[in-house]
């Protein structure tokens, strides 16, 4: 059965079953990738194809879209809603939803606005209070969800209204509060960029870290007599990654460079991804999303998992609200309303996190928000109204969900659901 001439005995422990199709070497890696795609295990492929298409179309209509200056803007625009989308990914992974992330971010920016002006708090105080408020809200959601079994979309829909009210209450009769222009959060969101040289070094370090962690894993697996991936394909991937990152840095550095808020988002995504993949907590999150009953019988404390994801989601929403207030250097009654909610949830889904739970990863927040903001940015460049923008974003979300559902069906047919 095996496709190579080697006898089963020469394979590592986990590759000895004769029915396994052996993918070895670079050709094997490519073949394995193609057969996975055919079986509906598509990962982030459609999103990358979609992104290239979107960028191509907008660039064709307005040649300044892919200019360095505009891409620097685009990256900065992604940061705030991207941070919120990371929290949404966590909630979606346990097959729940938080519809109130927009209001949460709005209430948090109102706290920042009042705190920095009339209340006279220092910036760290205001940030801690706003994020702590997020934690409290998440705790309340989780308590109601776990204790009373109220579906999370109802709990958070109620929360959406309540938080909107809180935002209006905090702002009182100020319709809009301008943050002090010299405040550190405004400077961070508007004018903080990674120095050119440092950006190249960071890109290099990231690739070195990638290679190092893969090599360490290969060494551990070899020690346990398990199969390891092909070294050649690792170096090919690392080289492509290095070229991509360094080129990206160079292109952005032609104007202002890589913005710190965007770096914050990328680092946050990497940290959350690490925790999801390598810790028992992450395993529990995926297990609860896959089968609540199985997780419960395995002795996983369900309430702990729910509390952790709802608290994290609301805290990240609060953080995102602070970031967007800093970017606009203002907190107003319209902060967090409008498309913040839609953008954050759509980003998570468009990026490939399944609405059905248990499938997806932190990177989908990053990829998804880049798509959403590219569309928003491109349509603004094309001088289209927000009416058209909403409709097109809605359409893209629909396509993403259709792809998710179809991939799910294809996985079922190919036995990999």
């Amino acid at each position: 059965m095996s496709q190579t001439s080697a006898t089963p005995g020469t394979h590592p422990l986990d590759r000895q079953d004769e029915r396994l199709i052996q993918h070895t070497g670079v050709a094997g890696a490519i073949g394995g990738f193609l057969s996975r795609v055919r079986a509906g295990d598509i990962g982030s492929l459609p999103i990358i194809v979609g992104l290239i298409l979107i960028w191509g179309i907008i660039q064709g209509l307005n040649s300044s879209f892919l200019s360095s200056r505009n891409l620097v803007n685009l990256a900065t625009q992604c940061a705030a809603d991207g941070v919120i989308a990371v929290g949404v990914v966590l909630v979606l992974l346990v097959a729940q939803i938080d519809l109130s992330v927009g209001s949460m971010s709005g209430a948090s920016s109102a706290v920042l606005g009042i705190g920095l002006t009339s209340a006279g708090w220092s910036l760290p105080e205001a940030i801690v209070i706003a994020v702590a408020m997020g934690a409290l809200v998440g705790l309340i959601y989780a308590f109601i969800f776990v204790r009373f079994n109220v579906p999370s979309f109802v709990v958070t829909l109620a929360g959406l209204l309540a938080l909107l009210g809180l935002q209006l209450e905090i702002l009182g009769n100020h319709g809009s509060i301008n943050l002090p222009f010299n405040s550190a959060i405004v400077a961070f969101m508007q004018r903080a960029f990674v120095p050119d040289v440092l950006s190249y070094v960071l890109a290099l370090l990231a690739v070195a870290f990638f290679i190092g962690s893969r090599l360490a894993r290969a060494r551990r697996r070899r020690a346990a007599n398990l199969s390891t991936g092909s070294l050649v394909s690792l170096y090919v991937k690392a080289t492509l990654l290095l070229i991509g990152l360094e080129f990206g840095c160079w292109y952005l550095n032609k104007t202002r460079g890589v913005s710190l808020p965007f770096m914050l988002l990328v680092v946050l995504v990497m940290i959350v991804d690490f925790f999801l993949k390598r810790t028992k907590w992450g395993r529990a999150v995926y297990a609860v999303g896959g089968s609540v009953e199985a997780a419960r019988r395995a002795g996983i404390k369900l309430w702990r998992v729910y509390v952790s994801v709802f608290v994290l989601c609301s805290m990240l929403a609060a953080l995102g609200g602070l970031m967007s207030a800093g970017r606009l250097s203002a907190a107003s009654i319209s902060s967090g309303t409008g498309d913040t909610n839609l953008n954050a949830i759509a980003a998570a889904v468009i990026g490939g996190t399944s609405l059905f739970g248990g499938r997806g990863n932190a990177y989908s927040a990053l990829l998804g928000i880049v798509v959403i903001e590219s569309i928003a940015n491109g349509l603004t460049l094309l001088s289209l109204t927000s009416a058209v923008r909403f409709m097109i974003t809605g359409g893209v979300l629909m396509v993403a969900v259709i792809v998710d559902s179809m991939a799910r069906r294809s996985r079922a047919a190919h036995g990999a659901a």
Binding site: G290, S291, R297
Partner: protein
């Protein structure tokens, strides 16, 4: 298959690992179990038989720590114990494989095997888990192509194998299998029966809950029959015929099963009027004609006799 497993100690010589004496359990006004005794021995497969509502599931749930017994003594290795929670049962070394398996489809085989008790402190050590998973599956001669495939990609028999292998991760003394072959095809049933023999050879005390007399005949050493929440006989399989066990399950030697068998011998072709026999309609001709309905499966949630 059974003959190939050599060196299985005869039950009379070994001490039971798990003993139940006079265990009773009521749900409201309904007495689900009354004064049930049970012995499980290492290296022995005990089949727990009984019709729907006989109390099998209640007994399993008491052993798994889902329900607490109202009265009676449970001894583990001669020491009286109480099983207060599923975790307590697991810690004692009683592993239960439920009929619905409770696997996470989106996770791979390794993740499912170690769910809730992953190796490693801060970070999971995937390699140690994968090595142990391969080792366990090899001991069971399991046919799983790759331990990194998501469970959703496996067949029914393979999923049953994963569920059984998962119960062995903590090296339990007692493995309880709740209708492991109910949803399986012929080939897969045979694989699971092989697996049960592997468990016996590994020295676990196996309790097999089933409705399938062929499975009992194939792998069990002892059959324990419950009827209406009470013990209705313990039969060493070497000394009884399936007919005697069926009689104990249904409570009568003259029951629907034997009548069907007799009719089948008279008329080999399928009889169109199989459902109704005149005897069924006459009270007094049979002892328990109303409760003796043979069925293939029972809902896992049943508790009332």
């Amino acid at each position: 298959m059974q003959q190939t497993v050599a060196g299985v100690p005869t039950q009379a010589q070994t001490q039971p690992v798990l003993t139940l004496r006079g265990v009773s359990k009521s749900f409201g006004a309904v007495r689900a179990l009354s004064n049930v005794d049970l012995d499980l021995r290492r290296g022995e497969v005990t089949a727990l038989l009984g019709d729907n509502g006989a109390g099998k599931s209640t007994l399993v749930k008491i052993l798994a720590g889902v329900h607490a017994a109202d009265s009676g003594v449970i001894e583990f290795d001669g020491k009286p114990i109480s099983i207060s929670s599923p975790t307590a049962a697991r810690d004692l070394g009683i592993a239960t494989v439920y009929q619905d398996l409770a696997l996470c489809d989106n996770l791979d085989v390794v993740a499912n095997l170690f769910l809730g008790r992953e190796h490693g402190r801060l970070l999971m050590s995937e390699e140690a888990m994968e090595e142990r998973a391969l080792d366990l599956l090899r001991q069971l001669s399991a046919k799983i192509p790759s331990v990194r495939t998501p469970v959703a990609a496996l067949s029914g028999g393979q999923r049953q194998t994963v569920a059984i292998a998962r119960s062995l991760v903590g090296e339990p003394s007692v493995v309880i299998l709740d209708e492991p072959t109910a949803a399986l095809g012929v080939e897969q049933t045979a694989e699971v029966l092989n697996l049960i023999e592997k468990l016996r050879a590994r020295g676990h005390a196996v309790m097999l809950i089933t409705h399938n007399m062929a499975d009992v005949d194939a792998v069990a050493d002892t059959a324990v029959v419950l009827r209406l929440g009470r013990n209705n006989g313990v039969f060493p399989l070497s000394e009884v015929t399936p007919e005697q066990i069926v009689a104990a399950i249904t409570g009568a030697t003259d029951n629907t099963v034997t009548r069907r068998a007799a009719r089948g011998r008279r008329r080999p072709a399928a009889s169109p009027d199989a459902g109704v026999e005149p005897a069924d309609l006459e009270p007094g001709t049979t002892k328990h004609s109303t409760v003796s309905t043979p069925t293939n499966s029972e809902p896992t949630g049943e508790t009332t006799p």
